[in-house]
Amino acid sequence: MTTRAVGAIAILVLATLPLWLASPYYVNIASQVLIYAIFALGLNVLVGYAGLVSLGQAGLFGVSAYAVAWLVAAGAGQFLGALGALLLTLATAAIFAVLALRATGIGFLMITLALGQILWGMAYRWISLTGGDNGLRLDTRPLPFGISLASPPAFYLLTLLVFLAAIASMAVFINSPFGASVLGTRDQPRRMNALGFDVWRIRFLAFLFSGFWSGVAGLLYCYYNQFVSPQVLALQASAEALLMVISGGSGTLLGPVVGAALVVVMKNVASAYIERWNLVLGAIFVAIIVLMPEGLVPGCARLGRWLRRSLAARGAPLPLAGRLRGPR
């Protein structure tokens, strides 16, 4: 009941955000936050739910962004361009999965890293296809049902709809029997096999699901910027996505969203005031890892429980940083 009310209020606030934010600049930043939140939600399926840490996810994001720009430029039209981009991303995710799922843990991480680098290399060097350093342009945003997405608020609302679909699909997925199967393969893969579960195929499908949302995010990214360049699928982009998931709280529904907001806001807002904003972001990550190693969302939930307990127990002592890691 209360969670539902909070959710409804959150959706209402998000939907009316363009009215609250005076400047289109901030509306655009909100769109960016949502695009990266979708990306991080997709990666979280692998990292948080399946226990497979990938460092090549930006490759899938990038394939989708490049594919739609290329297809539209080639005259496929917006609808077929988007469809084609998503199908190509799924196919790439399937190839990634077949190669990377030969291993778990550090092996999986290294293979996804290598695959991501191959795609980056292609974007950078296969100039006839990708434009190399110059990247590809997307001349116009699509016009779904004839609605123009040219203005920041209109584009923001489309992104919000897709984001809500993404988070709803995550909530359904993780509470489903298949979601339980994925969590089981994370915690006890050997046992799952002995219980009759096909661990490889479960991980493969989780990879596709993760890749699908990474592709959707890539698509929105291309619509947003109307431009893609190799830096989209660079290793740094994969690492940033991983930081979003981990800093917000991997394996939680809202963690990746909070992490994405943190990174995008720091990148855009803090960089306007502080030249060395990367340093600030780094310091924030270190603080999160030290104080809330499980991530911001589970960490704040724990802090909230602890505060409520101590308020109930005696007066209201202010929490000291050192005590935050105290009793669970």
Partner: protein, 245 residues
């Protein structure tokens, strides 16, 4: 037809032959006890039977079917369930969810990403029934991490029983239990119907002796003695392995 039949099963790790030409046949409904000192290769034998390890040579037949080359998950679908000596449960989940996972493993429902698992009353009912068999239905909603060691052993058994196996492998189900808990588990095992064939590993002969129809004594990966309870207990080689080793 035998419920479980092993012939010439061998497995080496490097130069060490952990399982060596093991042949044994367990009749349907039989209670078979496999004993042997530490390092006799008992758990390795189980891992060969379930498919978690591949044999170097030899074969495994389950209910008359050759399963030697089949993966563990397929053997589970063919009616083989096991418990582990080292408890391997899902610590973040409740007891109920642990048993539900065991049920899901054999159901096509496990692929369904659209329905709510918590909404499946049929599944919850069956899981509770399996927990009731081991006397844990009262704490079904408790997270596994908050249960005692003896209770986890019983959850292991509940998960195996929930799969209604034809052949049940129990790997030291009494390990680490108090005398009271042992009695509980012994009673629980006696109540399992004879439609289920049971093969049990036990390091300590005394706790499981009266449970067994036949006993196989393993030593250094080989079958040393096999026979009825009286035959194995009376055999001088049994005394030699247990007292001389």
């Amino acid at each position: 037809m035998n419920a479980l039949e092993l012939s010439g099963l061998s497995r080496s790790f490097g130069g060490l032959r952990v399982t060596s030409e093991v042949s044994l046949a367990v009749a349907p409904g039989e209670r078979r006890l496999i004993i042997g000192p530490n390092g006799a290769g008992k758990t390795t034998l189980f891992n060969l039977v379930t498919g978690e390890l591949r044999p170097d040579h030899g074969s495994v037949h389950l209910m008359g079917r050759d399963v030697t080359r089949l993966p563990s998950r397929t053997r589970a679908h063919l009616g083989l369930a096991r418990t582990y000596q080292i408890i391997t449960l899902f610590p973040r989940d409740t007891l109920l969810r642990n048993v539900e996972l065991a049920l899901l493993g054999l159901m096509p429902l496990r692929w369904n990403p659209f329905v709510r698992l918590d909404g499946r009353q049929d599944l919850a009912r069956r899981a509770r029934a399996a927990l009731a068999l081991v006397g844990l239905d009262g704490m079904a909603e408790r997270p596994l991490a908050e249960t005692a060691y003896g209770e986890r052993r019983r959850v292991e058994i509940a998960m195996a029983l929930a799969q209604s196996p034809q052949v049940l492998l129990l790997d030291e189900p009494f390990a680490g239990l108090s005398a009271d808990e042992r009695r509980d588990v012994q009673r629980l095992l006696r109540e399992i119907p004879r439609t289920i064939t049971i093969v049990m590993i036990e390091h300590d002969m005394d706790v499981a002796l009266d449970f067994a129809d036949r006993i196989t004594l393993l030593h250094f990966g080989r079958v040393v003695v096999e026979g009825t309870r009286a035959e194995v207990v009376g055999d001088p080689r049994t005394r030699e392995v247990y007292l001389g080793a």
